[in-house]
C-alpha cells in the first residue's frame, strides 16, 4: 500500500487484517505439497485442477459476484486465452510470455466487448446470461469447425513448455498457486479502493448507485474486462502447463457449471469463496470415484441445495451461525463483500 491517500482513509491495521486471509491461504498452499501429496503426480494434478478452477472462480466472482453480470462463458473465455496462446505457440516461434500476453489480451477484449454490448443494450441479468451462453456454444462450434488451426476434437498439442511447469509436477502446482494468490491480492486491492465501493453500491442497488454518481456501465465493463483477463490468463497458462488442449478442456459443462457451483458454495462476491469452493470440490472429486454421471447428479443436487438454502454461500451461513452462537455481530464486514 503505497497510496498515501488510501492509507489515510483506512487505518493501517485494518489493511493488514484485510490481507490476512490471503497470507493464510498462501501459507496453506505453500506447505500443502509437503504434507499431503508431494510425490503423487495424480494427486498433484488434482490439486492443480483445483487451483485452476479457483483462479477461474476469482475472475467469475469479479464479474458476477461484484457487478451482477451473469457471464455463462467462463470456459469459452479461458478457451480464447488457451487457444490464443496455443495456436501462437504452434504457428510462430514467439516465447511463452508472448503467448500468455496474447491469450490474456484476447480474453480481456472479448469479455469487455460482451460486457459493453450488455451494458449498451441494457440487457438484464438473464439476457446477459443467454447472450454469453450463446457465445459459449458458438465458440465451441468454432473450435470444432476450424480443424486446421485447432485440431477439432483431436485437440491441440502445445509446444515449447518447460517440463518443470507441467500440470502434474510440483513446479506446475506452485505456478498456479502463485497465480491464484496474485489474483486474490488484485481482488482485495480492488475491494479496498474506490472501485470496491462502486462495486458494492451497484450490486446493492443499481439505480441508487447511479443516482449517487457511480458510473455503473463503466464499472461493469472494467470488472468484465479484468475478470476475463484473469480467466484468459489462467486458460493460457493451463494450455502451456498441460501441453495439450481440446474443446473439452474449456467446454461449458466441464467449466462453467463447476465454477458456478464452487463460487456459489463458497459465497458469491466473497474473497475466499472461490478458493474454499474449489478446495471442497477437489476433495469431493478425490473421494467420489463413482461414475461421471453420478457426479453430475451430485452437482445438480448441490446447485439446488445451495440456491434454495444457502443463497449467500455455505461458508457465510456457517460464519453467521457461529457468530450467532457466540453472540457476536458479524465482524467480518470487510471480507464479506
Amino acid at each position: 500500500m503505497t497510496d498515501t491517500e488510501r492509507t489515510r482513509r483506512l487505518p493501517l491495521a485494518r489493511i493488514g487484517w484485510a490481507f490476512l486471509p490471503i497470507a493464510v491461504t498462501a501459507a496453506v498452499l505453500a506447505i500443502l505439497p509437503t504434507v499431503w501429496f508431494g510425490d503423487s503426480p495424480y494427486t498433484t494434478s488434482l490439486a492443480v485442477q483445483a487451483l485452476v478452477f479457483a483462479s477461474y472462480g476469482v475472475g467469475f466472482n469479479l464479474i458476477f459476484g461484484s457487478t451482477n453480470q451473469l457471464f455463462l462463458c467462463v470456459g469459452a473465455l479461458a478457451g480464447v486465452g488457451g487457444y490464443g496462446a496455443g495456436i501462437l505457440a504452434n504457428e510462430s516461434t514467439w516465447p511463452m510470455a508472448a503467448g500468455l500476453a496474447v491469450g490474456t489480451a484476447s480474453a480481456a477484449i472479448v469479455g469487455g466487448l460482451l460486457s459493453w454490448i450488455a451494458v449498451r443494450r441494457s440487457l438484464g441479468i438473464i439476457f446477459t446470461g443467454i447472450v454469453t451462453l450463446v457465445f459459449s456454444l458458438g465458440f465451441a462450434n468454432l473450435l470444432l469447425g476450424q480443424r486446421d488451426l485447432t485440431g477439432s476434437e483431436t485437440g491441440l498439442i502445445v509446444d515449447g513448455v518447460p517440463d518443470d511447469l507441467a500440470d502434474d509436477s510440483v513446479g506446475g502446482y506452485y505456478l498456479f498457486a502463485g497465480l491464484l494468490v496474485a489474483f486474490l491480492i488484485v481482488f482485495r486491492l480492488l475491494q479496498l479502493s474506490h472501485v470496491g465501493w462502486a462495486f458494492r453500491a451497484l450490486r446493492d442497488d443499481e439505480v441508487a448507485a447511479e443516482l449517487a454518481g457511480v458510473n455503473v456501465s463503466r464499472y461493469r465493463i472494467y470488472a468484465a474486462t479484468l475478470g476475463s483477463a484473469m480467466i484468459g490468463l489462467t486458460g493460457a497458462l493451463l494450455a502451456y502447463s498441460a501441453g495439450f488442449i481440446s474443446p473439452a478442456t474449456y467446454s461449458f459443462d466441464r467449466v462453467d457449471v463447476r465454477v458456478l457451483v464452487m463460487v456459489a458454495f463458497g459465497g458469491l462476491g466473497t474473497l475466499l469463496g472461490p478458493v474454499i469452493g474449489a478446495g471442497v470440490f477437489a476433495v469431493l472429486d478425490e473421494r467420489l470415484t463413482a461414475s461421471l454421471e453420478l457426479r453430475e447428479v451430485l452437482y445438480g443436487v448441490f446447485v439446488i441445495a445451495i440456491f434454495l438454502f444457502f443463497r449467500r454461500g455455505v461458508v457465510q451461513a456457517f460464519v453467521g451461525l457461529a457468530n450467532r452462537l457466540l453472540g457476536r455481530r458479524t465482524p467480518l464486514q470487510l471480507s464479506r463483500d
Partner: protein
C-alpha cells in the same frame, strides 16, 4: 432447392414444437426451464422401455407423455415454489439456477441408469411425394403432430375460458388475481402442459431419427434459441421462429456446412436479443 426448403420446414416445425413448451412457462412465470430437454429425454426413455416390454407404441407414447407431465408438476410443486415467491429478475435467476440443477439431476440419473438408452419410433411405408419431393413417412407424421399441437394450442388460448385466464396471467399477474384467477393453479397446469409437450416432442423427434439419452442439453439449447427468437411467451412466435430457423438451418447446412450453421443459428438468437429483445412476436 425445393427439397432443402421442405426439409427446413420439417425441421422448423420440430423446433417450434420444442420451443413452445419452454416459451409458455417463461411467459407465465418468468422461469426459463433449463431442465426442459432432460424432461424430453425422460419421456423418450420411458416410452422406449415400455416398447421393449412389448407395450403397443400408442399406449407407450401416452404413458410417456403422462410421465413427462408428472415430472413437470413435481418440479412445479417443489422447486418452483420458492422461485415464485421472488419477483422480477431475482425470480428468473433463481428459476434458471434451480432448473439447471434439476437438469443435471435428471440427465445424470438417466445417463447413469440407461447409458445406451434411445428412442426411435419407426414409421414404415414408402416415401410420399409432397410437391414433387419424396418425404419419409416419419417426417410427415412428425410435422403433422407439430401442426396439430400448434392448432390446438392456438384454439385453446384463443377460445376457451381457461386459455384466456392463462393469457391474463401472462399479461398481468396482479390484475389476473384481482379478477379471481389463481395464478399459482394456472402455473401448475401450464407446467403440466409444458411437460406433456416435452413428451410430444420426444415422440415427434424420434420419428425423424433416434433420440439418445445425451440429447437433453442440445434440446434445451434449441428450445432456448427458438424461445428467444420467437418472443418469450408467444405460441405463434415459437412456431414462426422455429420454421424460420429451420429453413435457415437447412439452407446453410446444405450450402455452407454444419458447424457454421450452428454458429449462424446462435448468431440469430444473439442478434434478436440485441435488436429486438422482445422477439418476433413478443409483447
Amino acid at each position: 432447392m425445393r427439397a432443402v426448403v421442405l426439409d427446413g420446414i420439417v425441421l422448423g416445425l420440430a423446433f417450434g414444437l420444442l420451443g413452445v413448451g419452454m416459451t409458455l412457462v417463461y411467459g407465465l412465470g418468468g422461469v426459463l426451464n433449463l431442465a426442459y430437454g432432460q424432461i424430453v429425454v425422460l419421456a423418450a426413455i420411458v416410452i422406449s422401455l415400455l416398447m421393449e416390454d412389448g407395450v403397443a407404441t400408442v399406449q407407450a407414447a401416452v404413458v410417456g407423455v403422462l410421465a413427462a407431465a408428472g415430472v413437470a408438476v413435481l418440479l412445479d410443486l417443489t422447486l418452483m415454489r420458492p422461485v415464485y415467491r421472488e419477483h422480477g429478475e431475482e425470480r428468473t435467476l433463481l428459476g434458471l439456477l434451480l432448473t439447471l440443477g434439476a437438469a443435471f439431476v435428471i440427465g445424470g440419473l438417466l445417463a447413469w441408469r440407461y447409458p445406451a438408452g434411445a428412442l426411435y419410433i419407426f414409421v414404415g411405408g414408402d416415401p410420399i411425394s409432397v410437391i414433387g419431393v419424396p418425404m419419409a413417412v416419419g417426417s410427415i407424421w412428425a410435422s403433422g403432430i407439430a401442426l396439430a399441437v400448434a392448432a390446438i394450442l392456438l384454439l385453446f388460448f384463443g377460445l376457451t375460458t381457461f386459455g384466456r385466464g392463462v393469457r391474463s396471467v401472462i399479461q398481468d399477474e396482479t390484475g389476473a388475481r384481482l379478477v379471481g384467477i389463481n395464478p399459482s393453479f394456472v402455473r401448475t397446469v401450464i407446467f403440466a402442459l409444458s411437460g406433456a409437450l416435452a413428451g410430444v416432442v420426444a415422440i415427434a423427434q424420434s420419428m425423424n431419427g433416434p433420440l439418445t439419452v445425451n440429447a437433453g442439453f442440445e434440446l434445451t439449447t434449441f428450445a432456448l434459441i427458438v424461445t428467444v427468437v420467437g418472443g418469450l411467451g408467444s405460441v405463434a412466435g415459437a412456431f414462426l421462429a422455429g420454421v424460420l430457423l429451420g429453413v435457415v438451418n437447412a439452407l446453410s447446412a446444405h450450402y455452407i456446412g454444419q458447424y457454421i450453421t450452428t454458429i449462424i443459428l446462435l448468431g440469430a438468437a444473439a442478434l434478436t436479443i440485441l435488436i429486438r429483445p422482445r422477439g418476433l412476436l413478443g409483447r
